[in-house]
């Protein structure tokens, strides 16, 4: 079989070694992302644990991969900031039981707000020129690299980038407007 099927322990060992080597750069990155020093250490710790608990195949660019992981962990924290108090619990594997919690389904109002948010964003996207929307969809939803999108549509790489820049501007500005309209208690 191929290299992909090789011993996961070896692959993860490689990533772990890469983490030790990349650690100072990742720390510098997290500090540049305005993470307080103690939290930066926590994130690196999480990263290490994640590598241990999620055996993986070989990675083409371990350094870029680790940056991405650190960024994702950081964003997850920013999203759920303030909703957590500790992380010292050790969570064991559990079987699903029959216990049920009290019903806390969202109110009709919450559902309406969520729907409205979704429809505002989708209206904003729908208002984009068709070509821009297509490029954005291929990039963001279908995960097609820019170079391939350029080839598909017969346009230059910089044209693809311009379409993406425009689409993201709309997304960021719509989101900013929504956040200003509906104060969100979970925002950092």
């Amino acid at each position: 079989m191929s290299a992909i099927n090789r011993d996961p322990d070896k692959a993860i060992g490689g990533l772990r070694a890469a983490l030790l080597e990349t650690r100072p750069a990742l720390l510098r990155f997290l500090l540049a992302r305005r993470v307080p020093p103690e939290e930066a250490e926590d994130i690196l710790q999480d990263l290490f644990v994640k590598l241990e608990s999620d055996p993986a195949g070989p990675v083409a660019e371990p350094r870029a991969y680790l940056y991405r992981m650190a960024e994702n962990l950081l964003l997850d924290r920013r999203r759920s900031a303030g909703r957590r108090t500790g992380r010292e619990e050790a969570w064991a594997t559990a079987q699903l039981g029959a216990t049920r919690e009290a019903d806390d389904r969202p109110s009709a109002e919450q559902i309406l707000i969520a729907r409205e948010r979704l429809s505002l964003v989708s209206d904003a996207l729908a208002a984009l020129p068709e070509r821009t929307r297509l490029v954005f969809r291929r990039f963001r939803i279908d995960g097609v690299p820019q170079r391939e999108i350029a080839a598909e549509l017969g346009i230059s790489l910089s044209a693809v980038e311009k379409h993406l820049q425009k689409a993201y501007q709309v997304v960021v500005e719509t989101q900013a407007r929504l956040d200003a309209d509906v104060p969100h208690p979970q925002r950092l």
Binding site: V49, A56, A60, R78, G82, E101, S122, F139, Y168
Partner: protein, 313 residues
């Protein structure tokens, strides 16, 4: 406030966000230097990254389709509930959105979250779609499918002269006489072979997979080959999801698709292994959480599974 300066930083942050999506180590190093150049840049980047993260595939749905659904549900009271639901299901299943498909003969088959649907592929082959799934088929080429998002099980008649190919981004799966299940969700791509075999390909590295084998690849492109009970692979079709030491993040993704609501996991719990089965019903998320000694909280239109908070804000 200097409106212009803010705008420039935002445009730069967006450019970085785009560049980093497929960025190499050198891009990230350069990104760090950009961040260090001005303390305001990190927050601008947050705004971009978080806005992007909040963007769901539903936001891309054609507005006409939305309006149709909206109208259907608001007048729904006049109809027997079951009838309205059946009609909506039928309509959603048949919505075709030609502007996002590549060729003139391509069309889209889609399901809303929580719905299942079987579509014929011609020559006796068929595909079963799980909820929140979008599939592009070709009227002229019954041996092609593109999984745009979601989960689907393909039951394919083998024809060595015309192999059946499914693409999903730059992942490519070619059958060799087969039933196989594919998941494409938030950067995760999973192939599970139920019968026969397939060849997985990404960027020219072909990996043959036999029945009972799985292959998972994440956004960074790390493919991992594993093993799973073929029965469990299509549990979603029976409303039953089974796991052996699966990361909680995976369980959440599967539940999101089946229930039609976003199920998020506290980042510290994403790798928590879960063994057991989950029945897909309205109590699925709270049952899962309480079985693990966690709590499930509804925020807006999504669920968050997190540790019990000791000091609520």
């Amino acid at each position: 406030m200097e409106q212009g300066a803010h705008h420039d930083i935002q445009a730069e942050a967006i450019a970085w966000h785009i560049r980093l999506r497929n960025g190499g180590a050198a891009d990230w190093d350069a990104f760090v230097r950009w961040l260090e150049g001005d303390p305001a840049r990190s927050a601008a980047y947050d705004a971009v990254a978080l806005a992007d993260a909040a963007l769901t595939p539903e936001a891309f749905a054609a507005p006409a389709a939305n309006d149709d659904e909206e109208g259907r549900w608001s007048t729904g009271r006049r109809w027997a509930t079951a009838l309205a639901a059946a009609a909506a299901l039928f309509l959603l299943g048949l919505i075709a959105m030609p502007w996002l498909t590549a060729g003139p003969d391509r069309y889209e088959v889609a399901t809303a979250a929580g719905q299942h649907r079987t579509a014929p592929l011609g020559d006796g082959s068929s595909v079963q779609l799980n909820g929140a799934t979008r599939l592009i088929l070709d009227r002229n080429d019954p041996r092609f499918a593109e999984l745009v998002a979601g989960e689907a099980t393909f039951s394919v008649r083998h024809d060595a002269a015309h192999p059946f190919v499914v693409v999903a981004g730059d992942h490519r799966v070619q059958d060799a006489g087969t039933t196989f299940n594919l998941i494409r969700d938030r950067g995760r791509f999973t192939v599970a072979v139920i019968e026969g075999s397939v060849v997985y390909d990404r960027g020219g590295a072909a990996v043959p997979l036999a029945a009972g084998q799985t292959l998972r690849a994440d956004q960074a492109g790390r493919p991992v080959v594993g093993r799973e009970d073929p029965q469990a692979m299509t549990g979603w079709q029976r409303g039953q999801l089974s796991y052996r030491a699966a990361p909680l993040e995976t369980v959440a993704g599967d539940l999101s698709r089946s229930l039609g609501v976003e199920v998020a996991i506290d980042p510290e719990l994403m790798a928590l292994p879960f063994t057991g089965s989950v029945r897909v019903d309205r109590d699925a998320v709270t049952s899962l959480a309480s079985a693990l000694g966690l709590q499930a909280r509804r925020t807006g239109d999504s669920w968050l599974i997190e540790p019990h908070s000791r000091a609520p804000r």
